[in-house]
Symmetry: C2
Subunit: 229 residues, 2 copies
Amino acid sequence: MEHNSHPMEERRTMRADAERNRRRLLDAATQMFCERGLDVGVGEIAQQAGVGRGTLFRNFPSKEHLIAAIVVERMRESIARGREALESSDAGEALFDLIEQSVGRQQTDRALFDAIAETWLANDEIREIHSQLIGVLDALVQKAQDAGAVRTDISAVDVLMLIKGVCEAVASFQHVNHDVVLRQLDLVRSAISASGVQRPLRGSPPSLEDLEQAKATQGAAAPAQAATA
Amino acid sequence: MEHNSHPMEERRTMRADAERNRRRLLDAATQMFCERGLDVGVGEIAQQAGVGRGTLFRNFPSKEHLIAAIVVERMRESIARGREALESSDAGEALFDLIEQSVGRQQTDRALFDAIAETWLANDEIREIHSQLIGVLDALVQKAQDAGAVRTDISAVDVLMLIKGVCEAVASFQHVNHDVVLRQLDLVRSAISASGVQRPLRGSPPSLEDLEQAKATQGAAAPAQAATA
DNA sequence: CCGTAAACGGACCGGCTGGTCCACTTCACC
DNA sequence: GGTGAAGTGGACCAGCCGGTCCGTTTACGG
């Protein structure tokens, strides 16, 4: 037995040190990406994790795979927090809290959302998880709307974009005073809350497809285009 | 002519072809940065402009200088549009329009705001222009507040961050359906409009200094510095 | 026209990046 | 403890990047 597990199965067990190193890599990379953006070098990451570059590339076939792994991990966490929020009795507050939490977590994380945006189509796993995330958010928004806390003409995608907006705005003026962030969050709250709605939003509440389809149309154009002078 | 102009003065006149090439470079770079982000190579830019790399580097001592030049140009345009908006009789609408315009212009421009964020401290000229921009925006917000269209507890910086947020959110999910953008703009409008204010914003209206000071604390790490000029 | 300084462009450079390879170490099972 | 496979790490590679240099071309005043 002993090599009992079929070799064709996914790796059954990793050697303890291997697993530990993988974790270290993930942690170091997460931290460094968050602090310094997506283009920190793999060498630096490996060093920070206390392993050699070879180890990094055995665990993650390419830098992109590493990024993808981190993104997946983070999104799983987000989904978990979303599910938790769904349990709350006050859906409105739960939603606002979730938004605030998300921004707070990403506030110092320059790169994570970037990574999602850049890789989400490239990787099936990420697509899948992303749609789960939207699903949870959608349920929460729905619940908050039913509770009368949130205006009824918005969708989870709208909310997601608001969150991303705040994250990005904050990130790009690095380390703004925390008050500024709180104010932005208050403004978001004011934007989506049910009371004080004066005019309906243009268009109709977008769904996940509205993002994916859009992305597809321009996927081809990216690398091409020679000069033509 | 007289080489009348002192040689130490700024270049008085450029040779016609030189000026034309500079313009081409600027245009090509603007377009490419907007479409494909800040890390398109200088070679490609030069090629697209139909000149050699040498020409590029004579006009702009480094890639960063090129970026800075573009940013300055764009910001000047923004300021002009802001001044125009100030003339309007309906300050509220003028402000909303300006926001919508700004987002619209940047919608396909992945990189411009990035560039501002990354270079604004490094380059005195950009700092100066940026503060002018805030000034104009401030006047407009003020006027809209006096007209009762905009809630009184926000500042130009708040508005700027909102604009940036929408731009970034849109940019990172590249080419989202235009409806989604309009909805975000409506949400912003709803957030900052005077009617329907339910609760005051936390903290106090931030000023330009709140951004700069924040930036300064971490400025040490910046890449600039060598560029004395 | 002609002379010349300005402008040009692309060959070239050093450095850095993501990614590969393989001699060596370590774990885990007997 | 012995043994072999799994795991390791750093030397190494190719390609790309921003930036320089210099022989050639071009605009433009006379």
